[in-house]
Amino acid sequence: MTSKFGTDGLPTAPPVARLVDELHKLPGIGSKNAQRLTYHLIRMPEREAHSLAEAILAVKEQVGFCDQCQNITDQNPCAICTNPHRDQGTICVVEEPLDVLAVERSGAYKGLYQVLHGAISPMSGIGPEELKVAELLKRLKTDVADQDQIREIILATNSNLEGEATAMYLHRLLAPLEIRVTRLARGLSTGSELEYADEVTISRAFEGRQDFM
């Protein structure tokens, strides 16, 4: 939508107004930020502006979903799925690609992943069909039929209502496959105090208690 006027209604050169409009479409960018960014880009060296434009195009052209785990990748299958040193017997199911990054940063996990691209949120109309659940099921059924390598599925969806609903749904869906399904420990987070914790958190912390090591 090219307008003669910027988002504040004042007359602006069409290319400037166009860029403001485009930036305004991005999440978290209001009209003031869109204008500020636009004027910054106008003053930026041409070389840098080209670099930004090319990076945006490259992401759209070269990045897709890994056929195996549905993570965002530029090579198919992705680097994690094709890495022979990773534990081929466990799959860690997460909601978003950024969750894969977070887990990888921790260094705590050496297996494979499956990205759902969301969580079940019935009120928002997001059910299993809107997520990459079918892809997970297909991947597991193929394994059960052919290689029988997968020993454990770790449900690492968020510990909020949607994440819990997703984990419970997957647990029920995957039950017939008779593969071990585990859920990440929930309860008190490191650095938190019992006094301030809510009852659901405390309840889960008690349920998940283990022998002290």
């Binding site: 019935p122 009120m123 059910g127 609903a165 419970m168 809510d198």
Partner: protein, 270 residues
């Protein structure tokens, strides 16, 4: 009716968290159905951060006491304490789905920023009963009473077209006109016009289901909870009530669609 400007700079209330949506880098915008102000939309700063102290208290379906501060455009939650976390309900999919149906219906039928103490208590009681393990029967009773407390109770005695009392087995249900229609008015001819103009097809309604509807309408849950509603009756009740609600909201209750979908999965394992 309390308007936004009546609120002092800092204020307290209690409510049930309906939904949340992401905002900015780490914030959540919450819809909360409150005792004093009806449905409010407020922001919780930094709720998505792992170390957030408030986040656990502000999950959907929690009954919470909240402290707020007036903000520019949107008020901000500064404190929250769980009054009832409905933990048992959260531990099974059907419980979550039914809980979400309750808050989804309240959000859809209750006008924004308009308190309704009776509806609020109805919601709290329903969530408590769901937490205790009650199921579909509670949901029907809840639905009828949401309709009643928000002014949408269907007419179950007199034909909505001609006002005559309907006779047993000689009635249909009109979602458009909001009640029973006698067979005379349902057949062709001038009196039939009103429900056709209303734009929703008439639904078959058996006497047994009409009796169940009147029974749910007229009684508290403790009275109706032992009523046996078998498969066929349940199906018809679902169609009539669901059809009426669908007409009023111009969409399905999404959490209800999700609940129906669950029955297609293998049975619950606990």
């Amino acid at each position: 009716m309390q308007s936004h400007s009546d609120k002092p700079r800092t204020y307290k209330t209690e409510g049930v968290v309906i939904r949340h949506s992401r905002s900015g880098e780490a914030d959540l915008v919450l819809a909360i159905y409150t005792a004093d102000y009806g449905t409010i939309h407020v922001v919780g700063r930094g709720l998505r951060r792992a170390k957030s102290r408030l986040a656990g208290h502000l999950e959907p379906l929690s009954h919470v006491a909240i402290q707020l501060i007036r903000g520019k455009g949107i008020d901000i939650v500064t404190g929250a304490d769980t009054l009832h976390g409905h933990t048992a309900l959260r531990n099974n999919l059907e419980g979550i789905a039914r809980g979400l149906i309750c808050v989804e219906m309240v959000e859809a039928f209750a006008p924004e920023e308009y308190p309704n103490q009776e509806l609020y208590k109805l919601l709290l009681d329903a969530l408590g009963l769901l937490n205790d393990g009650e199921g579909d029967r509670l949901m029907w009773h809840f639905a009828f009473h949401v309709l009643r407390t928000t002014g949408y109770m269907p007419e179950l005695q007199q034909c909505v077209a001609c006002s005559n009392v309907v006779q047993p087995d000689e009635h249909l249900f009109s979602p458009g006109l909001g009640g029973v229609v006698c067979l005379n008015c349902a057949k062709g001819g001038e009196p039939a016009m009103p429900h056709e103009r209303a734009g929703a097809p008439l639904l078959p309604l058996s006497s047994n289901v009409l009796k169940v509807m009147r029974y749910f309408r007229d009684n508290r849950y403790e009275t109706v909870r032992n009523l046996n509603v078998d498969g066929e009756l349940a199906g018809e009740l679902r169609r009539v009530l669901g059809g009426y609600i669908h007409y009023l909201l111009e969409r399905e209750v999404r959490s209800s669609t999700f609940l129906s979908g669950l029955s297609r999965l293998s049975p619950a394992q606990g």
